[in-house]
Subunit: 270 residues, 2 copies
């Protein structure tokens, strides 16, 4: 099995692939678009795409790519983002004066670095910072990246979990050419737009509330240049193949201007 992802080898997305699929071949892609296209063209069997992060929010661009491609969500995975302090083999933690990584990762470890008197220096990528460190041979410098990146480059993990906020999770979606019929507890992701009318969203949500269907996500996204028009992202518990979900989606179709089921898939169990 081949799974595409956006990023370099050792990226957090690649780590999520190994945790979710087990031993598979990974296909690194420069852009998210390329990761989707790899599945469309058959270069990859599946893509694992980050869709939201507990600190940084939903990744709208990847919703756009889901809408633009005729692919299906077939699974989800929640990765606890644990940043590692990574150094050359033999280096001790006390030797570290400087840490290099992507600005977001440095920001998420700012408290730790300050507490240890380590200066932060920004580079363009987390996994790339490990590669750069290995090439430079610097003994007073650490990189901040995933466990996977450390292993890939044969480097030493001085400490794992150095992020200031442990509630740092990224939710990934597995995307394939064929839809699945989930056997265990299912979740369904949909995207819809509504007419610009008072109470439109309230009516739309009634189709779920009236049937005791639990929502696990709701998000409005303004359509730019159209001040009163929105896309809505909703995830609910249940599979689109179940009778009650079918009825709810049918009912929603009466209000919605557009409605797209992105996929039903087994719910992630921690």
């Amino acid at each position: 099995m081949k799974v595409s992802f956006q990023g370099e080898p050792g990226a957090y997305s690649e780590q999520a692939i190994f945790e979710y699929y087990g031993k598979v071949e990974t296909v690194p892609c420069e852009t998210f678009d390329a990761a989707f296209e790899a599945v469309v063209s058959g270069t990859a069997d599946s893509a694992l795409i980050p869709i939201e992060n507990s600190l940084a929010g939903s990744i709208h661009q990847n919703y756009d790519l889901l809408l633009r491609h005729d692919l299906h969500i077939v699974g989800e995975y929640l990765l606890r983002v644990r940043h590692c302090l990574i150094a050359l083999p033999g280096v001790k933690k006390d030797d570290i004066r400087k840490a290099i990584s992507h600005p977001q990762a440095l920001g998420q470890c700012a408290g730790y670095l300050r507490g240890h008197g380590i200066k932060a220096e920004q580079v363009y990528d987390t996994a790339g910072s490990v590669k750069m460190l290995k090439e430079s041979g610097a003994k007073d410098t650490a990189a901040i990246a995933s466990r996977r990146a450390a292993e890939l480059y044969g480097m030493q993990i001085l400490e794992e979990g150095i992020e200031d906020n442990p509630e740092n999770y990224t939710r990934f979606l597995a995307v394939e050419r064929e839809a699945v019929v989930p056997k265990s507890e299912a979740k369904t992701s949909i995207v819809f737009t509504l007419k610009n009318q008072p109470g439109a969203l309230f009516k739309a949500l009634s189709v779920f509330a009236l049937r005791d269907i639990d929502l696990t996500k709701i998000e409005s996204r303004p359509l730019q240049g159209k001040p009163w028009e929105y896309l809505f992202y909703v995830d609910f518990i249940g599979s689109a193949q179940e009778e009650v979900s079918k009825r709810a989606l049918d009912h929603l179709g009466e209000y919605a201007v557009t409605l797209r089921v992105l996929g039903s898939y087994p719910r992630f169990k921690g």
Copy 2:
């Protein structure tokens, strides 16, 4: 007047400050937290904080900072993000072989760069890429950053608006120590949590629907480690000082476990 922001001089946030406040003194801060603290301590009178981007989504961390600080939203501004291709004075567009910028900016201009045969090279910051280019003196290289960054470093804008998707907007919130009573059409931002009960969100939204109050944003944010608990972000049209809003918020208080009004402020008019 002094206004704090996260980033280096020339950052998009600084450009937004000049467009929103006019001629003021800016206070660059390394982190968002520091930008908030500058207002708390009185170093700055106001902070301008990005809260959502039309492509990248809501910035949850900044909602967290709004909740953590006893400050008030007093205004909003929508910045159209227009990336500029920036070079040394005298350089021609045909000379450019390489572009340097933050990965996100490069990604947003990927189509343009490909079409012009320009290679992308990632650096840590948009405004920083202009500074680096000026220092290097490279005549075959361009930086991608804001108009403001080009002006600040006395550089030449070869082309403005090179982003592939023109629907690239960032919404900023102005945050101050004292709340305001908006005179023009108002918007109010609230954050609340609900009991884990079926239909809880539907009931919560009824307090607005029953009073014909228009929502301009709704977003659920899962509370990690608490699989069925969520924060909700809602923006609605109206000021919290108006009778109908007061009643709706009072009514919402019956369902909500926690409820915080982040501020009422004049609605942005494009």
